[in-house]
């Protein structure tokens, strides 16, 4: 049975529809991310779960209990904010203890839990510090510990890593996942960073303009996007423009491209756009049955582990990613190269 149920949620602010027909079942212990561009309604949905926004329509159930009309301080949920929001007048230990004090827990239990939490976030010895004596990453760890100390039914995080720099972000990302798995806590994680969502989640909810576009595992979302929006938003998409040829081929600059997907509603001569992930395009050597195209190199970007090559065929520009290795000689701008990709890697998009 689902642990957290969002049933047909809808939220309207004046004339803006922020969230529309949002349905989701989250299992106990599951890590679900809300992923989408700015303004798509991620925060609004999270805030409805937390109780800070009242849904215009729909119900929210946690562990079978309808909490739609329960005030936020009675929902027993943990919340972590982008801006950390530690209480500046309290020490780290007092921040972590706050929720337990509100629940009137016995002093001994509070002391013990604070100790456990500090150990969990690997910040023993920081209990007496104030938030302004901590780095951003440390503050967010404390905020996480503070939210977890009350043993919430669901942990809600709203872009918790956005204010941190790249290195700390990666570190804390792994930390969040480790802690989530250790405690087996049901988690909703809001982000607009696809890499974060892919790395952390059991399932991802991709949102666009207030609606759910697709719900699936990171693998599904990346490899089997159901809408063009999902395909474009998650990962990079290389697109090639061509026309439908006879026998189900697509002609790109006079070169035939075979697809596994049937071109059912296209007649020969109609414009067709095909989409590829950059890493499915190979620059050196084709496997039997692969499509082959002659392309012009427009530029080369060295990204460390991968080399990103900007290419053009028949006026469409797109990118191909090659894994870097010492034996690989990257092409130069102006070169003409043969590229290849498997028929099943290419999809027709609108």
């Amino acid at each position: 049975m689902a642990y957290l149920e969002l049933i047909h949620l809808r939220k309207v602010f004046g004339a803006t529809v922020a969230v529309e027909s949002f349905d989701l079942d989250v299992a106990k212990g599951e890590f679900v991310s809300f992923l989408g561009p700015s303004g798509c309604g991620k925060t609004t949905t999270l805030r409805m779960i937390a109780g800070f926004e009242q849904p215009t329509e729909g119900r929210i159930r946690i562990d079978g209990e309808d909490v739609t009309d329960t005030p936020p301080n009675k929902r027993r949920l943990g919340m972590v904010f982008q801006s950390y929001a530690l209480f500046p007048n309290m020490t780290v230990a007092d921040n972590i203890a706050f929720g337990l004090r509100m629940a009137k827990a016995p002093a001994q239990l509070i002391q013990q839990r604070v100790k456990e939490m500090l150990a969990l976030i690997q910040m023993e010895g920081y209990g007496k510090r104030y938030s302004h004596q901590l780095s951003g990453g440390q503050q967010q760890r404390v905020a996480l510990a503070r939210a977890l100390a009350i043993q919430p039914r669901v942990l809600l995080l709203d872009e918790p890593l956005s204010a941190l720099d790249a290195k700390i972000r990666d570190e804390l990302r792994n930390e969040i996942r480790r802690i989530q798995q250790a405690l087996h806590i049901t988690t909703i994680y809001v982000t607009h960073d696809q890499e974060e969502a892919l790395a952390l989640s059991d399932r991802i909810v991709v949102m666009n303009a207030g609606r759910v576009e697709q719900v699936g595992t990171p693998f599904d979302i990346y490899n089997r996007p159901q809408t063009e929006f999902v395909a474009r938003f998650v990962g990079t998409l290389s697109t090639l423009r061509g026309t439908a040829g006879a026998d189900g081929c697509v002609m790109v600059g006079g070169q035939p491209v075979r697809l596994t997907q049937p071109l059912s509603d296209k007649r020969p001569g109609d414009a067709v756009t095909i989409a590829l992930r950059p890493e499915t395009i190979t620059l050196n050597g084709a496997a039997p049955g692969d499509n082959r195209l002659i392309a012009k190199v427009e530029g080369v970007t060295f990204l460390g582990s991968i080399v990103r090559v900007q290419l053009s065929v028949n006026g469409s520009t797109f990118v191909a990613d090659a894994l870097n290795n010492p034996n690989f000689t990257p092409p130069h701008a102006g070169d003409t190269v043969a590229i290849s990709f498997a028929p099943e890697a290419a999809r027709v998009v609108e």
């Binding site: 937390a50 109780g51 800070f52 005030p71 936020p72 301080n73 009675k74 929902r75 027993r76 949920l77 943990g78 919340m79 904010f81 801006s83 929001a85 530690l86 209480f87 500046p88 007048n89 309290m90 706050f98 929720g99 509100m102 629940a103 104030y130 938030s131 302004h132 004596q133 905020a143 503070r146 939210a147 009350i150 809600l156």
Partner: protein, 290 residues
């Protein structure tokens, strides 16, 4: 060239500073000098001892020092100061209890009403004290309120009047304090951790407004201690420090000068005390500024 300019600028700044300082210090210095000449041909503290000393028991004025009907045998300097201090403290408590939750709620829930509230809080600047006094007296001295019939009611009226009179300072100071912290997120963090409204205001908002509330309290204290009009009309027995100072000013020659110097020193001690307390919470202030 820049050196020359900055020298000129510095000289100019010093000149302004000296003129302003002189404007403030010269009257004080002459008052001080005058206050020392109570005995002809002699420099001494006679005027001060006249004000401060505890006279012989048979000369003690019996003055009720508080609304609690405690009769203290103290010279009027002390009894009136005590009375006004008590009124000032009550005003600080009442105005903090009203202003902090109100300003907080406006910031959190109805920020578009901020200009309206601000307008109302500066009204006491525009309304002369005497108008406020008569307005309060006319409204509350007769039925259905009749507050002035009882000692406690009169005190309530005085404290209420002071609370309004200091509103421009208290609201502004708390408003600035609230702008310096992210109250919306802090409130949500506290709520998600199970806190109700009283706990949020007392344990999260108020402690982070410590510096703002202290500076408001200082101003309130200074104003309430010296206030004359309302105190004198509500307590015609000249119980308040303001009334006492006025009566000394009318009836004595050297003592008013001594009293001026004494109250000046008192206010300075107060300022230093409050700054000391404020600095004790340095980390709150620093994070508040972030």
């Amino acid at each position: 060239m820049t050196g020359g300019r900055s020298l000129a600028a510095r000289l100019f700044a010093w000149a302004i500073f000296i003129v302003c300082a002189a404007y403030l210090i010269v009257p004080l210095a002459t008052q001080f000098d005058y206050s020392l000449r109570a005995r002809r041909g002699e420099i001494g503290f006679t005027a001060y001892t006249n004000v401060l000393s505890i006279p012989e028991p048979d000369k003690v004025l019996q003055v009720q020092a508080s609304p609690l009907k405690i009769t203290l045998n103290l010279p009027r300097f002390y009894s009136s100061l005590l009375f006004s201090c008590l009124m000032a403290v009550l005003t600080i408590i009442v105005s903090t209890a009203i202003v902090v939750p109100t300003a907080y709620w406006v910031h959190l829930r109805v920020p578009r009403l901020k200009p309206v509230i601000e307008f109302f809080t500066v009204l006491p600047f525009a309304i002369p004290g005497i108008v406020l006094t008569f307005g309060l007296l006319r409204t509350y001295s007769g039925p259905p309120f009749s507050l002035t019939n009882t000692e406690l009611g009169t005190v309530a009226l005085l404290v209420g009047g002071y609370t309004i009179a200091v509103l421009p300072y208290t609201y502004r100071s708390v408003d600035i304090g609230l702008r310096a912290i992210d109250i919306r997120t802090l409130t949500e963090a506290a709520r998600s951790l199970g806190a109700g409204w009283p706990a949020i205001i007392l344990q999260v908002i108020l402690p982070n407004l410590r510096v703002a509330v202290l500076s408001a309290a200082l101003l309130t204290f200074a104003i309430a201690i010296g206030e004359y009009t309302l105190a004198n009309f509500l307590f015609p027995d000249e119980r308040a420090f303001g009334s006492y100072m006025a009566s000394v000013g009318n009836n004595k020659i050297f003592e008013p000068a001594a009293l001026t110097i004494i109250s000046f020193v008192l206010v300075w001690i107060l300022v230093l005390l409050i700054q000391r307390v404020g600095r004790g919470t340095g980390q709150t202030q620093m994070t508040g500024m972030r």
